[in-house]
Symmetry: D3
């Protein structure tokens, strides 16, 4: 019997300390999770166009070719992954994550929203509340069965 | 000869002073614009479920029925309007706007992004940069021909 | 000032007396309604392939060309109308109506479900309950503003 | 060499004796079929919100939260399964099955329609006839190769 | 009573004499047709990025920014027009037209295929045959009612 | 550790010597490639309706049932395969390939365009340039990792 695995589009910010911590926790959890195929998953930071990272090459931010290709890389990542995994921190959401949630929803991809345990229950944006298919705590991520997606409500308020 | 008009989904924040000012400026501009049908456009603030506004009834934020209906109202607004008009302030974007951009894109709705003149050219989020179809300045909104949508690049960097 | 009008895909059964009565009532109501463009709306019964009606030519029911063309006519009707108007009688729903509801939803068409006043509040199928965008009574149809679609819940149970 | 398997959304009624019999026959057949992953397939009856079944808790049918969650569970089931398997009995079709067929079609899911051998060839609804991708008899289900979907016409008339 | 009009995405080649002649004939026909809004229709040749035409600036063909913007202009043209009008010459089809047909179909846009009278009935590509919604002769274009789209088969063979 | 494999819709012409040679080269390459599941991939030539090939039965080309079923077979092939593999020869593109590219794009399927090494860099149609997600040379096909799709630009001009 072979374990089935799923690929994820790893949708997460890396701009604040809190985001970076949640990013690492989520990455560690899916590496432990036997139902996730991490090697074939799409991690946007690993797909900057031509391998050039903007923090080392800020001039790229003004380069339309670079921006077009990096945007399209992320679009391809969403459409070719089995589902979208959003590492979501209330009050630290960003618009780019929103665009990826909207794209995934339209393609019928499952949207799994993971929230750090210490933030669980805090209010989140109404549109994220509505477009997410399933919400879990960070501590549940390592043992979540990615082969059995379903629907639940977020256990918290909106704003 | 009758003037053709288009309806818009009015996608704009109302959380900061700067957002409120841009909100009013954009609303005034489309009222002046003879190619916009403002009366039949969808303004989310006018469609809170049962006419109850959350600033006056904060208990609604914990009510799943209210949240489901208000989310679905916005979804219907996006899908039944001719195009999406995003009043977009660099550095003040929010995740809800992102979700609406992604939904509109998937439905083939034109995405017109309006940026205040004083912010024009400032860096914006890469995903917004990529999913927007056309970018204009606030001062162009009152005379923009909504019957002639096309494509351009945003004249500024990404982050 | 010219009155804007919307076209509808007229989704209704004509197999029982109750269906026929509701069909006529709904047709009369939209003819009175100044916001509906009845002339350019799509009424499936008027689009049987080659003008041949199956009640007069039952042999057509076995003809794959006839069935393919009639099915595609209905598909085109759903995709080219502004919204889908479902004349819906609890306990007399049929699978064909369900297929049209699913197709309309996927294309982002507004789904307006009209229920005879005497049946209002009776339980309906869970999937119809979930996929409908807006539910009204038959007596509201003649004055409903088709230029102002929004969302509400059906005021009754599911089964 | 590992056998590839597919997951199905198990679309079937359980309201009449005939439906229940076909439901069991189809379930047994896919359990025998080495190309189906039954364990990870989506069976709506197993996904009633909070594990509460409406036959035991009829008050749920009036509960908007329960209905919203159960509807969305089925929507997620359709969108996350590899294909839709419809257990289809002529003259016993229901509108909920139709909605699921329409949703599946829009997402590009293969629609496999299984008809009991004794009903094979009986007329079916025109819209089901048109939206189905492939039609087989119940006796073919246990050996059907789910890794080789294709297209055929239903071998019977429409109504 | 105001005449309703529709906008079209004008999908036509301009590479051979025969294409140019059909292009002009079709353009003249829709200008005569009172149900077409030619002024707001999307004609790709009028939307080359920055108004630069490649026949005068062949260096643009190697410019990724120019190509990205012109491609996206055509994509926006398809998604914001009411329907797609394909001026189709058997044996002179091109792949670009095919891409536009596929995009339009996915967005639920009506696909009207116009064929010069002298070519009517000649075999066309199987995929064009299948994705077109309605086929008419060039001589019918000036009086075709764009407010009454429907379905028919092409009256000719495939190859 | 089991090797994951992907299925492809094998989109390629077989009308000219050059196309036939590229067709064979591409087929041989994916048979060597351990990340492709050739057995479950969709090769249109193997799915002509009822196993009847038009070169042996030219009368089929006038048969609407045969054309409808063969077209729908290809549609099903695109929607049920993991990605679309286009064997693309500059100047020998055809409209049918274009339709399949447009359909695949709309369904969020990855579009991998393979160009013979000797043609690499030659200009291609603008719409193919824009809708392709990733472009590689024929000599790269046997070792390309189909589990790691991403985005790049075609390394050549458009026309």
């Amino acid at each position: 019997m072979v374990q089935k695995t799923k690929t994820v589009y790893f949708c997460a910010g890396w701009f604040t300390d809190k985001q970076n911590k949640a990013y690492q926790n989520a990455m560690n959890a899916i590496k432990e999770n036997p139902t996730v195929d991490v090697e074939d998953s799409y991690v946007p930071l690993d797909h900057q166009y031509k391998g050039l990272r903007v923090d080392e090459h800020p001039e790229l931010l003004e380069d339309r070719e670079w921006a077009t290709a990096t945007y399209n890389g992320d679009r391809v990542g969403v459409s070719t992954s089995d589902l979208l995994l959003a590492v979501y921190i209330p009050n630290e959401e960003d618009v780019g994550m929103g665009v990826e949630l909207g794209m995934a929803s339209a393609l019928g991809k499952h949207i799994l929203v993971v929230i750090p345990d210490e933030d669980w229950g805090k209010p989140i944006n109404l549109m994220s509340w509505g477009i997410g298919d399933q919400f879990i705590k960070m501590s549940e991520l390592a043992t979540f069965d990615f082969n059995k997606p379903t629907f639940n409500f977020y256990d918290g308020a909106v704003y």
